[in-house]
Subunit: 247 residues, 2 copies
């Protein structure tokens, strides 16, 4: 039986999603929890390799077991009982044997949060990027819209990615303010290059600081040159909100 | 010179505000930071002795120094540089020598947050009480209003308090829903008994669960009997939002 799990986690204390030697990862924690449940080694496949310190509300992963010992609706409770508090399975469903968590994904939504206040906020410090100086929200709202559409996002890709093409389609990109000085950048696309959302967020902060004009986003995209974009925003502000599937 | 500081902190890793032997406290962290700054032992006096695990966005404390080596507007930056990330000074102002952070307080606002969802949320887990079963929000909204007014709150006071009288005036008490399944209980009063807000929150959860009727709040208050109120809600949901002063 093949299962698809939805996972929420706080990435602060992890070296990212993907299992690696000598480091604590989300994938390993889930595999250990499944081992305790099924008494056999199980490998999970994630929809996205989130980086160290990055959070998720709607990460997905699949795994396959022969034994069907736990009813599907009870599975999240059973796995959560074996997971640390900063990881939580929020849904489980049965998928077809050929279902693939990466290739069957239609699109994904990420949210990048900025705490824009003179002094740090300990209650949101782990899940937002603290920017001291007041950002121009209107300019950032205007700039974010220029990301929408199908573009070659080479300028918004860190070295080290393995993608064959840097063309991606962004379905929406918007900036909005929540209470308590939190500015959110929410973006949905059919795929994202390595560090793409964090470089977009860093570039939007440049716009909010007046270092870059909102209209320059299209020029930066057209240049296909990483040096023209802003800095890579730190991981703590990023959250994988949801992965949507074709079937 | 006497200063009044505003302080935000995440109480998760502390044994509360008040300095004590063999335990890490907010007061001690601030006093150590001030010692590094002024090179002399300084005792601070807080407006509220928040319990272990309780948070603050607007805690206050005073301290007095002879030397005026740091401009008042630079003081928060200077102290923050010597504080851990889960504590943040957000304001400093000069007050009169006879100003008292407890006796000069006009009223305080607390917020108690409940995460009401089937599965835990790692991103809000440290700052909210997780309640699995769906609460009746309308009943809780109705119930909260009954706390308003001047009452003897003996039924909402844990043993161990040192107050001479258990009469307190609640200026407002309201329940409202934020996004992501967060239910907030916000209450302002001229003073609070030991564990009073947490017992109020626990009682509101009983109302939300149908164990207690909204109208029963007045009867519970009138009974002056702690056994008639709900459980003491856990500390992680509580936050001292603001302390307001007469002068």
């Amino acid at each position: 039986m093949k299962y698809l799990l939805s996972i929420a986690y706080k990435g602060t204390n992890y070296a990212g999603w993907q299992r690696q030697d000598n480091a604590n990862t989300i994938q390993e924690e889930i595999e250990q929890a499944l081992y305790k449940l099924y008494k056999e080694p199980i490998t999970v496949m994630g929809a996205s390799r989130t980086d160290a310190g990055v959070h998720a509300l709607g990460q997905k992963c699949t795994f396959t077991v022969d034994k069907v010992t736990i009813p599907t609706d009870k599975l999240p409770y059973a796995i959560n009982a074996n997971l640390p508090k900063d990881i939580s399975i929020t849904n489980a469903k049965i998928v077809k044997p050929d279902f693939h968590p990466i290739f069957d994904a239609k699109n994904k939504t990420y949210v990048y949060k900025i705490y824009n206040h003179e002094f740090r906020n300990p209650l949101t410090g782990d899940i937002s990027w603290h920017i001291y100086h007041k950002l121009d929200l209107d300019k950032m709202k205007k700039a974010a819209k220029f990301f929408a559409g199908e573009h070659d996002f080479a300028a918004f890709c860190a070295a080290g990615g393995s993608a064959k093409t840097s063309v991606r389609k962004i379905n929406f990109a918007k900036v909005y303010e929540e209470d308590s000085s939190i500015i959110s950048f929410e973006v949905n696309g059919n795929g994202f290059l390595y560090n793409m959302v964090r470089i977009m967020a860093g570039t939007l902060v440049y716009v909010g600081q007046g270092k870059t004009e909102a209209e320059d986003i299209l020029k930066i995209i057209a240049s296909k040159n990483r040096e023209n974009a802003g800095i890579t925003a730190p991981p703590e502000g990023l959250c994988l909100k949801e992965v949507y599937y074709l079937r």
